[in-house]
């Protein structure tokens, strides 16, 4: 076995990973260690090397030099062992359109060496989880992009993976598809304590909402890799801008500050800028609570989030 000493702590590891396309350097000696049982967001501007990293990790591309390891196995040299116990969703994959979800799960289950009984039991459970049970026997050719992505996420769970690699899983989806995909990812995270996820994304909100660690890349190098709260320095707060019917008074601001998950509320013209801890559920709860306080809300929108601010700072510094 080609295990590394730190495999137990870091199931995903790259050592001096480099990839060039002609004169363009996509990866420049990337050293990355993804902590076990973490949900790590891989961030970076276009061309930073995120997708290349994930494609090398999932054996879709070969590195020019350096190594990529999963559970201690070199992906390039020991592909089968490395990718065992790994679930992958790379972009929005296309499926074999002549197959149904059940047949697709059966095909990939056979590739994974699973028994028919095991595939069958898992398929039913997973299709329920991704809310695709009623589409189980329909050909994938008729599915929308969002539905295919749900199947793709389900497929990544087929062999009860310990490691999941996601490359921009919500890219190209409509808002509903994005929300559904995020919901599934949240459930996957919450249902499984022994799971390491590495996910690339462009969406700061998504990363703030889902990930507990962040790795930031630019120009093929790792700029930062840390706990998300350390990175944003503000315990995962998001800025919500609330437009209300009347100018907010000091009393109103004080009442809003007293609401659950709200750490501060300040006037911004005729709006209120609220620092909110949490994701969509907390935002929805805030909307309800504002109504209960008798505050007439015209609209709620997301201000620049803390991670985004930090991200832009770091990317600018690295230019």
């Amino acid at each position: 076995m080609e295990g590394l000493a730190l495999t137990d702590s870091f199931p995903i590891e790259t050592v001096g990973l480099a990839k060039t396309y002609g004169n363009f350097t996509a990866l420049d000696g990337l050293d990355l260690q993804v902590r076990r049982n973490s949900f790590t967001g891989l961030l970076g501007p276009n061309g930073a090397g995120k997708s290349t990293t994930l494609k090398i990790l999932t054996h879709l591309q070969r590195a020019t030099s350096g190594n990529a390891y999963i559970n201690g196995f070199d992906v390039a040299k020991d592909t089968k062992r490395a990718l065992t116990g790994v679930g992958t969703v790379v972009e929005t994959p296309e499926f074999y359109l002549y197959l149904t979800p059940v047949e697709t799960f059966s095909y990939i289950g056979e590739v994974l060496g699973m028994s028919k009984e095991s595939v069958s039991a898992q398929t039913q459970e997973i299709l329920e989880k991704v809310k695709m049970t009623e589409w189980a026997d329909k050909r994938l050719g008729t599915f929308s992009k969002g539905m295919r992505q749900r199947i793709s996420l389900g497929l990544s769970l087929l062999n009860d993976p310990e490691v999941i690699i996601l490359d921009e899983p919500t890219s190209g989806l409509d808002p509903r598809g994005m929300a559904e995909t995020r919901e599934i990812l949240k459930n996957i995270r919450n249902d499984n304590n022994n799971l390491t996820v590495l996910m690339s994304s462009h969406m700061m909100y998504e990363v703030t909402d889902l990930c507990d660690r962040v790795a930031l890349m630019n120009h093929g190098k790792l700029l930062l890799h840390d706990d998300i709260y350390s990175v944003i320095g503000n315990a995962g707060h998001r800025t919500i801008v609330v437009k209300i019917r009347e100018e907010p008074t000091a009393d109103v601001l004080s009442s809003v500050e007293g609401l659950a998950n709200v750490s501060s509320a300040e006037r911004s013209g005729s709006d209120i800028r609220i620092q909110l801890k949490g994701g969509m559920e907390e935002e929805s709860m805030l909307f309800r609570q504002l109504g209960e306080l008798g505050i007439g809300v015209y609209s709620m929108s997301e201000g620049q989030n803390a991670l985004e601010e930090r991200y832009l700072e770091l990317v600018k510094e690295s230019q």
């Binding site: 879709l60 089968k80 002549y98």
Partner: protein
């Protein structure tokens, strides 16, 4: 723990092969090929029955040769339909994102796809020969053993054409380009190259060229050389060896290209 080793790679290859069969059974290509074979058999039989003086005739060898003279084209068509898009379609249709990211070696994928294309083409070719054999029984009342020898050569040629098609499939970025290139290379370009080589080098017997080796499919019936007037004899070992080499070498080259191909 994942099984590793040669036997598991073979198992995975067979899993991929099964999926290729499903793809072809649910697609149009297989039915297009079946229709073309039916049309050719029907057209030849129609011409013989309605235009020839003595219908299917009483010479089994001659009747079989009439049908077999078109088999090379069908074999090329089979390779074009089943093998030329086998690898490239995974990239073009982005299904590689589903399959290549699983614990499976590219060798198993390539092996499974090539085996599926070879088996599908071979089954159709064998059916064609069986129909010819049936027609020989209906007409002349006997089946000559040469027909089955010819089938053996035809299967070897199928292997060669499948290997060439797999190479183009690994090389090209689009299924359509790979298919066109496969068809024209096997049907025209190789003949053209043969002609140029033979003329330029003043070769007497370039037996190592694919189409020359594939002449065995027809020559085994004891055909007569139109230039010399002599009966053509077939060196079975040379012909079979050449065709297998023509299948194996491009297939191996195709695999090396496929293995190095990034998504």
């Amino acid at each position: 723990m994942t099984e590793v080793g040669f036997l598991d790679d073979i198992r995975l290859g067979l899993v991929v092969m099964k999926n290729e069969f499903i793809k072809n059974f649910r697609g149009k290509k297989l039915y297009v090929f079946a229709i073309i074979i039916g049309l050719i058999l029907g057209a030849i039989t129609g011409v013989l029955l309605f235009l020839a003086d003595n219908g299917l005739g009483d010479d089994a060898d001659s009747l079989a040769l009439t049908y077999v003279s078109l088999i090379n084209l069908l074999i090329i068509l089979g390779a074009t339909l089943f093998a030329a898009s086998a690898v490239v379609s995974e990239f073009e249709d982005r299904t590689a994102l589903i399959l290549f990211t699983r614990p499976i070696n590219k060798g198993s994928i390539y092996f499974g796809k090539m085996l599926a294309a070879f088996i599908l083409s071979s089954v159709f070719i064998a059916i064609y020969y069986l129909v010819v054999a049936a027609l020989c029984l209906i007409g002349p009342g006997e089946v000559d053993g040469d027909l089955f020898v010819s089938l053996g050569y035809a299967i070897c040629y199928t292997f060669a054409c499948t290997g060439v098609a797999m190479m183009f499939s690994s090389l090209m970025k689009k299924s359509s380009t790979a298919s066109i290139l496969t068809f024209f290379a096997l049907a025209l370009l190789f003949d053209l190259v043969i002609g140029i080589i033979v003329m330029a080098a003043k070769l007497d017997d370039p037996w190592y060229l694919l189409n020359n080796a594939a002449d065995a499919i027809v020559s085994c019936f004891g055909s007569v050389d139109i230039i010399t007037g002599e009966t053509v004899t077939v060196d079975a070992v040379k012909s079979v060896g050449t065709m297998i080499a023509w299948g194996a070498v491009p297939a191996a080259a195709g695999f090396l290209m496929f293995r190095r191909r990034d998504f």
